[in-house]
């Protein structure tokens, strides 16, 4: 058995940024082929110290569980969610002004989810090691509890059915992605791009200015997605520039990346709200607040994506470039055909991580007065039936659950992908 405190990680603790060395060599499953009593003894009551720890932490866990259940099922007054305008949390209070029907919105969401499913199916590798049971349980169970909690607030059957449809679209997309024939697979990037563009068009009713009336979860996701999608080309160019041998261009890239990474996002968002107007030509049309926020978030995220891509570039062995040179390829061709495909493939998990942190960062929009989910909380709590009655904890708990479900499931997916792609293990 592993010595005290130096044990192999549990089933749910694989992966992680630095933990990939563990994922490469999975330890034998604890208690495999043994009775449940052995598992209990080895994990909980190995010696006196271990037993004391078990009692203390068991007490803490039971207490917290009791408090949580007590809060969720008894003391919390969830009417601030389900009697209040749940729609606000999802699409914002001005969504009605856009004239976009919910059918249109769902069509867009389904298209996006289908594209995501196909993307996940493309990365499927039948020879990859299967997931351990604990990891799979955590990956599915956690978000499931969150989704059930969120849907329990809707009190009608339609949102549940439509959400189930999202899961179906994801699975269908995944199966399609796995079975795509090779010629289509080679152009899958363009297909996914077209589907994403179509989804964006459907969601905004093909009038991007509608975004100015978005709010809630929809605004959060649209801004985060626009941010990561638009910042991706910037990031790739900046990463290449930073790794290049051009003595005049490299300082420009370094300056941009380090400047943006050195200041907080909120100062950039303030710049978008208060100062960016000064930089436009005097007679130019200055875009709306959400567009200005997207511009700044793109600039912000570009620097971080650049660092992610730089990591991917560094992971490509020098022999690849040398082989390209030996074949007489031009530097451009080497970069385009040899280095970038490998580098980008290796940086996919980190890019998902960047998307997650962007999704969390979009919550800062509330500070510049936009109606993302935390802003919606203020709007809802200002209504006559809820104002000054201490509904704050419930509202934040609900929003927190939404964020947690999204971020947790995506970070698990990224970890899974990391093991599958074998990043860092070869």
């Amino acid at each position: 058995m592993a010595p005290d405190g130096q044990a192999a990680p549990p089933g749910i603790a694989g992966g992680g940024e630095l933990g990939t060395a563990i994922a490469a060599e999975p330890p034998p499953r604890r208690g495999a082929g043994q009775g449940i009593g052995t598992i209990f003894r080895d994990n909980l009551f190995k010696d006196a110290k271990n037993s004391i720890l078990t009692l203390i932490f068991g007490g803490v866990i039971l207490f917290v569980l009791f408090k949580t259940f007590n809060y969720v099922f008894i003391t919390a007054r969830w009417e601030v969610i389900y009697n209040g305008p749940l729609e606000f949390y999802m699409v914002g209070k001005d969504f009605g002004r856009t004239g976009i029907s919910f059918e249109m919105l769902w069509a867009g969401i389904y298209t996006a989810v289908l594209a995501m499913g196909i993307g996940s199916g493309l990365g499927y590798d039948p020879e990859a090691p299967p997931m351990r049971r604990g990891a799979r349980m955590a990956m599915i169970g956690g978000p499931l509890v969150g989704i059930v909690f969120i849907l329990s607030m809707t009190r009608t059957i339609t949102p549940t059915l439509v959400t189930l449809g999202v899961a179906v679209a994801m699975v269908v997309g995944n199966r399609i992605g796995r079975r795509l024939p090779q010629p289509i697979r080679r152009r899958s990037g363009w297909i996914l791009l077209a589907m994403t563009a179509l989804a964006f068009g459907l969601i905004t009713d093909f009038t991007p200015s509608n975004i100015d009336d978005f709010g809630g979860l929809l605004l959060t996701i649209v801004v985060a997605f626009a941010g990561i999608a638009l910042s991706f080309p910037i990031g790739v160019i900046m990463a290449l520039a930073r790794r290049s041998t051009f003595p005049l261009i490299r300082p420009l890239a370094v300056g941009y990346i380090e400047l943006v990474r050195g200041v907080p996002l909120i100062s950039l968002l303030f710049m978008g709200q208060f100062a960016i107007g000064f930089l436009f030509p005097p007679d130019a049309n200055i875009p709306g607040p959400i567009f200005r926020a997207i511009i700044m978030i793109t600039l912000f995220s570009g620097a971080y994506v650049a660092e992610v891509v730089r990591g991917g570039l560094q992971s490509v062995p020098a022999g690849q470039i040398e082989a390209g040179k030996a074949l007489g390829l031009s530097p451009f061709t080497i970069t385009r055909q040899i280095v970038l495909p490998q580098a980008l493939r290796n940086s996919i998990p980190a890019l998902i991580g960047q998307f997650i942190s962007l999704l969390k960062d979009v919550s800062l929009l509330v500070i510049i007065g936009l109606q993302e989910m935390l802003g919606v909380v203020d709007v809802v709590l200002a209504r006559r039936e809820f104002v000054n009655q201490g509904y704050v904890p419930e509202a934040y708990a609900f929003v927190g659950t939404i964020y947690w479900t999204l971020c947790f499931s995506m970070s698990r997916a990224a970890q899974r992908l990391e093991t599958r792609l074998g990043v860092g293990t070869r």
Binding site: P9, E17, V399, G400
Partner: protein, 396 residues
């Protein structure tokens, strides 16, 4: 290809438009030219727009009078925008100085918990990390401040004053503190005497350690020596150190005397520390896992306790791997302290917001704000690089 052929078919130098070296420089000059022109256009637009709207184009507004109140600065004294920025800078520093040790300590504990061989200890660590990491830090700040702190602190009218020297209220937590104006010099002098005592005791303990092999316990002995030196100086100078008790002011709305810790400060620092600790925990776990397993097993073979194993064998080695990602987390906590603007703790970003509400040019005010954050970033990077260089393995 022989030399003769080369002389016949190709000139020794390619023409300029196909010379790689020339093309490289041309390309670079073109890019720099385009970027430079774009930046010049932006600058030109900014100057034109500022002049059109009658705003100053320089940084003279720093000497203007700041027309807003900052808690902690006397409202009666008129202070300049420059001084407002400076007090905001110090307030940001206060968050960092407390937040970084807090998040490190908590992160190390959680990170080690995640590697425990007790299932429940591991579970608590995992739940902590997954809970805090996957919810935006701004939401944690709101929850800590608005829900946990503000709803639980008593109103100032409730008159909660333990020992008649402390005040606990939602206007602030007052604790007795030395009067900075009356005996600052004495205070600093006494601290100096205490530090000299600490250094002396540490030299003595190290010598004892080297000669007899007894554990030096420099920290413990130093702390005791510090307290003794302070007490001796205090009584020798005739009760020189006096403190002010914290009391509720006559009007019943403010806290007077002592040190007033603002609830937003407590909320912000705790929330940032809890959130960052979840990231630090993952770094600690990864670094410990990256250390060769034999190190821990060898420590166990020579009968070190769990604490000794981590303190003397594993953590010092793991620390070397941790430094770069830890530094980036410390940068994050610094940058995230700007979220104080959402709960009205007056640090530097809130100062910017208040400044830009007046008739000051937001562009310049923003440039100063960003410059301040760059100094923090640079400082943390320098310190991290210093440790990184000092602790890096000497490779042959």
């Amino acid at each position: 290809m022989t030399i003769v052929e080369q002389e016949i078919h190709t000139p020794t130098k390619p023409p300029l438009y196909r010379d790689v070296r020339v093309l490289r420089w041309l390309f670079q000059f073109a890019v720099v030219g385009v970027v430079g022109y774009a930046l010049y256009r932006l600058y030109d637009n900014a100057i034109t727009n500022l002049e059109d709207s009658g705003l100053p184009t320089g940084f003279d507004f720093l000497d203007n009078q700041a027309r807003f109140a900052i808690p902690g600065l006397e409202d009666s004294a008129d202070y300049s925008v420059r001084k407002a920025y400076w007090s905001g800078y110090l307030n940001t520093l206060r968050v960092i100085v407390i937040g970084i040790p807090l998040c490190t300590a908590l992160g190390v504990i959680i990170g080690i918990m995640r590697l425990s061989d007790n299932l429940l200890v591991r579970a608590v660590g995992t739940i902590y990390v997954e809970l805090f990491r996957n919810i935006p830090v701004l939401l944690w700040i709101f929850i800590t401040y608005l829900v946990i702190i503000l709803l639980n602190l008593p109103q100032i009218t409730d008159d909660v004053t333990p020992l008649d020297r402390f005040v606990i209220s939602n206007r602030g937590i007052g604790i007795p503190w030395f009067n900075p104006d009356a005996n600052l010099l004495t205070f600093v002098g006494f601290i100096g005497i205490g530090l000299i005592a600490v250094v002396g005791v540490n030299v003595w303990r190290r010598k004892v350690n080297e000669q007899t092999g007894q554990p030096s316990r420099g920290g413990l002995y130093g702390f005791i020596a510090f307290l003794i030196a302070l007490a001796i100086a205090h009584f020798a100078a005739g009760n020189a150190l006096s403190y002010e008790p914290s009391v509720i002011a006559e009007n019943g709305r403010q806290i007077e005397g002592g040190m007033n810790i603002f609830p937003p400060y407590v909320g912000l620092t705790i929330a940032l520390s809890l959130y960052t600790a979840s990231h630090v925990a993952e770094i600690v776990r990864g670094s410990i896992q990256a250390i060769h397993k034999g190190q821990g097993e060898a420590a166990q073979a020579v009968a070190l306790s769990t604490f000794q194993r981590y303190r003397f064998i594993i953590l010092p080695q793991a620390f070397r791997i941790m430094i770069p990602p830890l530094a980036s987390q410390y940068l994050n906590i610094t940058k995230n302290s700007s979220l104080a603007v959402a709960i009205s703790y007056v640090e530097i970003t809130s100062i910017f917001q208040r400044v830009s509400n007046n008739a000051t040019p937001a562009l310049q005010a923003l440039i100063i704000l960003m410059f301040c954050y760059l100094t923090f970033s640079l400082g943390i990077s320098l310190i991290a690089n210093f440790f990184n260089r000092r602790l890096s393995l000497e490779t042959r």
